[in-house]
Symmetry: C2
Subunit: 178 residues, 2 copies
DNA sequence: ACCTTCATTCAAAACGTTCTAAACGAAGGG
DNA sequence: CCCTTCGTTTAGAACGTTTTGAATGAAGGT
């Protein structure tokens, strides 16, 4: 195959591997995704194993993970009985899927814990000596700050998750803060 | 000390440790940050070592990391010759600092690599056979998608980084996408 | 019904990361 | 000028994570 095509393929796969790490996934997941993204045809486990030079077991497990995160899906190829995969090409779809499955939960539980802490402090206040009261007040300030932070995060998440199919460039140039 | 205060402290420290992991930092960094955030007074390395039950070496290294990320700063306590630290309490300041130091670079290089790939493909196109030409065209589509994605990411980053001192809750309720 | 072809699972190994404890270095006080 | 008190650095240990290779399981074709 042409040298330029190979070079582009390699750097893209490497870059997506890097990006995957960055998002807390394994690098292999990113490389698998990249390989699929740059293939006009769906690829089998054996194809992927050969291209990335990794074991079949690893391909199998990482592809299942990619599937769970909505980054790739199985695809039926007529006449073949192997499993074939293709990448979800819509990046925003991928982002939404990941945010929905991870960040969302994370923010919700954080807000829950913070709310509980505030309640706890307020209930305990009466029984505290002056020094402790001062500390409790200080804690409450910090809890408020943290709550404000997570509420913003929550709002941003909801906004992205609630956005329709195409969150393309033109649409997002209209983001306003303040 | 009061039970409620201890419980709140513990769950907050644990939660921030969790959050730190989530953002790709070590859990200890998050716990150190949380401990400082919930202390009205600056704390010394020995204080932190004792409270978190970790070695002094670990405290030292992790505190330097926190400093580099702008999450904590050294503070002089008159009469003492120990080093004292306090947490940066403005969460948005912390976020900006981290985004500026990591995500920014990441997005820039990604855009750089993608641009190079596009150029490379365009230059090579003439020398390709029909089959390769089709693949090159396919690659160019994918590169465009990826570029669009990273350009949005870049814009979002610039918006956050460019926002003034206080990016508080009221201000951000005005985020609009689309 | 058997044989072949795949995919999945799992235990062991390889790997990277992070902690600790000890050695080292710096700095101030007596 | 030594002694004490801190902080940093580093080599080794402990830990968790990921990969592999082999065993297992499932499913189609003959």
């Amino acid at each position: 195959m042409d040298k330029a095509l190979l070079a582009v393929n390699e750097s893209t796969v490497a870059g997506l591997g890097r990006l995957a790490r960055f998002f807390g996934f394994s690098e292999v997941m990113g490389r698998l995704y990249g390989t699929l993204l740059l293939s006009p045809e769906p690829l089998s486990l054996d194809d992927l194993m050969e291209r990335l030079k990794i074991s079949k077991g690893s391909v199998s497990m990482n592809m299942r993970a990619l599937e769970r995160w909505g980054m790739a899906k199985e695809v039926w190829v007529r006449g073949e009985r192997k499993k074939y995969y293709e990448a979800e090409p819509d990046m925003w779809q991928v982002i939404r899927s990941v945010l929905n499955g991870r960040e969302r939960r994370e923010v919700q539980t954080a807000l829950q814990v913070l709310g509980d802490s505030v309640t706890r402090l307020q209930k305990a206040e009466a029984a505290l000596n002056p020094e402790e009261k001062a500390l409790a007040a200080f804690y409450l300030e910090r809890m408020d700050d943290l709550q404000a932070f997570f509420q913003v995060a929550n709002l941003a998440l909801e906004t992205i998750l609630g956005s329709g199919e195409s969150l393309d460039f033109d649409a997002v140039t209209k983001i306003e803060i303040g």
